[in-house]
């Protein structure tokens, strides 16, 4: 099945591509941020800093 997008195909394709790009950037940012925070918690844990509850700093479900 071929899809014909007519004379304004570039506008349609750009719209979907931009939406995909922004969503990928959002997901990437959240994943990288999670890795960064857990890495920092691990470093704090290694240096002996623990939470008041005496749990490990990296004790994140």
């Amino acid at each position: 099945m071929t899809m014909s997008l007519g004379p304004y195909a570039s506008f349609i394709v750009t719209s979907y591509a931009a939406a995909a790009l922004v969503v990928v950037i959002l997901i990437g940012w959240i994943v990288l941020d999670y890795r960064s925070q857990t890495q920092r918690l691990r470093e704090l844990d290694r240096s002996g800093v623990t939470r008041r509850s005496s749990r490990s700093a990296v004790d994140t479900p």
């Binding site: 007519g6 750009t14 922004v22």
Partner: protein, 243 residues
């Protein structure tokens, strides 16, 4: 588990870790169905294939307002109940809301050029959505600018609630003023004016983008809780060194 139990960040982290994979899977499934339906939807008799832009423009436009609504409720939680997760929820939602608003503006512009003959017009709907986008950016800047998280939370909550005035202005701008933007065609008195062949893919895409928001929001909230945990541990470390 009651809702109040979720007020505990550790419990929220535990529950969200279990829920997130299911939410992500549901998002992918509904988005795939929505994209297929959007691709196979018929051309509009006036707009031709450009009507396909509607399937991403409208969900993003709805979510741009919905996210601010979520942030407004969270702001009430910050100011009235001082809920421990309220500011976390508002702060985590802002960049996602800004991204949806940006996409609503961009895809609207790309739809407007072939249909209206212009990318941009300073009419009430477009201008009020642009103001919403600038308010998202302003809020994000405010959270970054104020060092004390509790002061930043209160200031951001007030700004969010003041900014909520813009939501009915956006919604009813097409009725109150003479705009280039078309009036409401889905959420209106008397029902939708859209044919089912357009309405169903649009609603499926709206559900997909809402699921996407919920998934990203919960993940971003988890990050924000971890960031605050890092901050408090670093402060504890600094005070231990100073002692």
């Amino acid at each position: 588990m009651t809702l109040i139990d979720l007020a505990n960040p550790t419990r929220f982290l535990a529950l969200s870790a279990r829920v997130l994979p299911w939410l992500a899977a549901a998002t992918v499934i509904v988005l795939t169905i929505g994209l297929y339906q959007s691709a196979t939807a018929p051309d509009d008799y006036q707009q031709g294939a450009t009507v396909k832009i509607m399937f991403i423009h409208v969900p993003n436009a709805w979510l741009s307002m919905f996210v601010w609504g979520v942030m407004s409720i969270a702001s009430l939680g910050t100011l009235v109940w001082r809920h421990p997760l309220a500011d976390v929820a508002a702060k985590a939602a802002a960049p996602i809301g800004a991204a949806f608003t940006f996409l609503a503006l961009l895809t609207g512009s790309l739809w407007g050029r072939p249909m209206w003959g212009t990318y941009w017009e300073w009419d009430a709907r477009l201008t009020s959505v642009l103001i919403l986008f600038l308010m998202y950016l302003g809020l994000m800047a405010l959270w970054r600018a104020v060092d004390d998280p509790s002061r930043a939370a209160r200031a951001a909550a007030v700004l969010t609630l003041v900014g909520a005035i813009n939501l009915p202005i956006i919604k009813f701008s097409v009725d109150w003023w003479n705009t280039l933007h078309q009036p409401a065609s889905v959420m209106r008195m008397g029902g939708s004016t859209l044919d089912k062949s357009f309405l169903i893919p649009l609603l499926v895409m709206a559900v997909a983008f809402t699921l996407l928001f919920v998934t990203l929001h919960i993940a971003a909230m988890r990050n924000e809780i971890l960031r605050r945990r890092v901050r408090s541990l670093q402060m504890m470390q600094a005070s231990q060194k100073a002692a």
